[in-house]
């Protein structure tokens, strides 16, 4: 019997699914750092980007992160998320770049019909501009394939042309764990280290690793109106329409995004264990329950990605 075979029979525990997903993500993050000259980690303060940030700290420990963080600020953020973002940046000593959609609108780079329209799609303009401004050749992000059917088709290292566009019919073949991150000047890679994670994996990992999160992921009382199947939060940007009644309800957010199109779900879950239980028994997908912008057409996400969206 070979040495290796003997070792495999030792009693030490095999890797479980979270160990494997973590090791895969760390491998991907290290490939980005090695292959790309100017990577950046797109960071919103939301749960998925917190998981990626946590993984990046692990991947490069004891060194500091080999790339900055960048937040594409829609100007429509929940205040508690921005507060949380700044607290984490200060506590963990990471570098944060902020580029705002507001600024893109002022410069006439992005057009809006009204100040309260969702700015989710407009983020692409600000993002592509910032990529050119800093010369980023790789943007790391926390998107997952289980989120949406166009994402389910995307590579882990997803090539973008000089306009930031995704060509889903002509993706770079991606075999084994050999990643080709090479791009020509002006082009870039979008890299998704947690592509293979599900929403449940994310919550299990957050719980296992005690990763801090903004408070709005946990059940709290909030003023909302019932609109269709969704609860719309009342904020300076979203008000009740005629005939709608504002009510205080126990809710929590499953995703955080643009305040005008991100809705909370009814929930009493105040601990990670309770959230996990709700996640595995939920009847709705994360985006279906909470995002109004993905429901415009069957190809909303694919169209936005072709235009440079994350």
């Amino acid at each position: 019997m070979s040495t290796a075979a003997q070792v495999s029979q030792h009693s030490w525990a095999a890797l479980d699914h979270l160990d494997r997903l973590e090791a895969e993500a760390i491998h991907i993050l290290r490939e980005v750092a090695a292959q790309c000259s100017r990577p950046v980690l797109l960071f919103s303060g939301g749960k998925d980007s917190m998981v990626v940030l946590h993984l990046a700290r692990k991947a490069f420990h004891p060194q500091s992160l080999p790339f900055p963080l960048m937040h594409v600020d829609t100007g429509h953020n929940f205040p508690e998320v921005v507060e949380f973002r700044d607290k984490i940046v200060a506590q963990w000593g990471v570098q944060l770049i902020v580029r705002s959609v507001e600024e893109s609108i002022r410069q006439g780079r992005a057009q809006v019909k009204s100040a309260t329209d969702s700015r989710n799609a407009l983020q692409a303009v600000t993002l592509v501009d910032a990529i050119h401004e800093f010369g980023f050749d790789a943007c790391l992000g926390g998107a997952r394939r289980d989120e949406e059917k166009a994402r389910a088709k995307e590579r882990i290292f997803s090539f973008r042309d000089e306009f930031g566009g995704w060509d889903p019919k002509n993706q770079r073949p991606e075999l084994w764990d050999l990643y080709n991150a090479r791009v020509n000047p002006g082009e870039n890679m979008r890299v998704f280290p947690i592509s293979n994670w599900t929403e449940t994996d994310v919550w299990e990992y957050i719980s296992r690793e005690s990763i801090p999160l903004p408070t709005l992921y946990f059940a709290h009382r909030r003023a909302v109106v019932v609109r269709g199947a969704q609860l719309v939060p009342i904020s300076p940007l979203t008000s009740a329409r005629t005939g709608e009644t504002v009510e205080e309800r126990w809710v929590r957010f499953r995703t955080v995004g643009d305040m005008t199109c991100t809705c909370p779900v009814p929930s009493q879950a105040q601990s990670l264990a309770e959230i996990l239980r709700e996640t595995v028994t939920s009847e709705l997908t994360e985006r279906g329950a909470t995002r109004t912008d993905d429901q415009t057409s069957e190809a909303s996400m694919e169209l936005r990605k072709k235009q440079g969206y994350f």
Binding site: H27, A34, P62, E148, K169, T281
Partner: protein, 422 residues
């Protein structure tokens, strides 16, 4: 109803599904996802609405996996879709791969990371050219377990004789291909027989239904039982006070395992040393195994950079500048000897060229054609490759991680081919 108790420890099985939409592939995936509660109410509502709009009487389950506009328009699968589901026994990652010859490269992409392949056959059509092509590709990519799902049994009144004929034909050609584990099962994805439950309409079938196979098929132990292979991803600087040699080498253990004090060889330098420590964020480990991303420090100061390999000193890999390999050509542009190519194997990337093209394998007939004039998209050819600097490598049959490589066009940066070392 799915068991909602969360298991602390779950293994992951990655599998691909091959076959065309006509064989019932989408119906099968839809059923697996439904029965494991991986399709939720809003997704169901969306596909029902689209199906109704198209005048279909029943929800078209291919809408679940065909995520691109172009796929939905044409009713075909163009690229791999990854889907996730779990049962109390295991977690599963499905790579739903395209069946058309035109998209062979996308099927290869999906197959490269899979542990098992489900080949769908229509019981009325039996073994088709496409079945042969898929089985060959699956074998080439080193997938050890195959389930041939003989579908649409409802169309032949669940007759044993019809199944037996297809099974016999399938085994006649797939048996000699050398899979570790082949199972042929009867199924009606539409009615559900043979998928999650065995069903009551085929009392003559005594074997397990598909899901039971997926839940119990042994996971590939090769990564753990193979010799230690550790391609260096990067060099890390350590705090001064800790160790004399202030360098750590980050990477992932591709195969085998390592214990502090193990004798290792560093390639291509060929120097031997011992492992001083195995580090992760949480602290030091006494040992680590295949699949783990760690950082190693070594007892001796040796010049090591990204692309080098730290490996078992007793069972080192081959170190070669010229080697034979099977190549799957991906680029729409045929091979052109004047173009500069890069060979990326593990974390090493070096200039290389095709020294000789020996033959082309016809995956439909498994007959090879000697000295083809060109190498075109989706061709599988046996070549001799020559690289500028030596690579630490193993045969793909022994080691998927150190026996695989991709070829990159140095100018366009496209991935133009994938290869498996002989």
């Amino acid at each position: 109803m799915m068991d909602i108790t969360l298991k602390k420890h779950q293994e992951i099985l990655r599998f691909i599904t091959c076959g065309s939409v006509d064989d019932g592939k989408s119906t099968l995936i839809g059923r697996l996802l439904f029965d494991s509660k991986a399709v939720l109410a809003d997704q169901w509502a969306a596909i029902t609405a689209t199906s109704t709009r198209r005048g279909l009487s029943q929800a078209d389950l291919s809408l679940l996996t065909d995520g691109l506009q172009a796929e939905r328009e044409q009713g075909i699968t163009i690229d791999v879709a990854y889907r996730y589901f779990s049962t109390p026994a295991r977690r599963f990652i499905i790579a739903d791969t395209p069946g058309h010859a035109q998209y062979t490269r996308n099927m290869v992409t999906g197959a490269s990371t899979a542990d098992l392949a489900i080949l769908l056959l229509d019981v009325r059509k039996g073994v088709m050219e496409q079945t042969r092509r898929h089985a060959h590709i699956v074998r080439l990519l080193g997938i050890r377990s195959v389930v041939a799902a003989v579908n649409k049994m409802d169309m032949v009144d669940y007759q044993e004789a019809a199944f037996d004929q297809v099974k016999k034909d399938f085994m006649a050609f797939a048996g000699p291909l050398g899979f570790h584990n082949i199972q042929v099962i009867p199924m009606s994805a539409l009615e559900g027989d043979g998928v999650v439950e065995r069903g009551e309409r085929m009392p003559w079938y005594k074997g397990p239904p598909l899901l039971e196979i997926l839940e119990t098929v042994p996971l590939d132990e090769a990564p753990l039982s193979s010799p230690f292979r550790y391609p260096v991803q990067g060099v890390m600087r350590l705090p001064k006070e800790e160790v004399e040699d202030r360098r750590g080498f980050s990477g992932r253990i591709e195969t085998g395992s390592v214990t502090v004090g193990d004798e290792v060889v560093v390639l291509p330098a060929g120097r031997s040393t011992r492992v001083a420590s195995i580090r992760v964020f949480e602290g030091d480990l006494p040992r680590a195994r295949a699949g783990q991303s760690v950082m190693l420090t070594l007892e001796d100061q040796i010049d090591i950079s990204r692309g080098d390999m730290i490996a078992s000193a007793q069972q080192p890999p081959r170190l070669e500048k010229s080697f034979e390999a099977l190549l799957c050509w991906f680029s729409t542009t045929p091979y052109d000897a004047s173009r500069r190519l890069l060979v990326q194997q593990t974390t090493r990337c070096v200039p290389g060229k095709l020294e000789q093209v020996h033959d082309r394998l016809d995956v439909n007939t498994s007959i090879s054609m000697a000295h083809p004039d060109t190498v075109e998209m989706n061709d599988i050819v046996r070549v001799t490759l020559r690289v500028q600097h030596p690579l630490a490598l193993d045969a793909y049959a022994d080691n998927r991680a150190t026996g695989s490589f991709i070829i990159i066009d140095a100018l366009t940066h496209d991935t133009v081919a994938a290869g498996m070392i002989c």
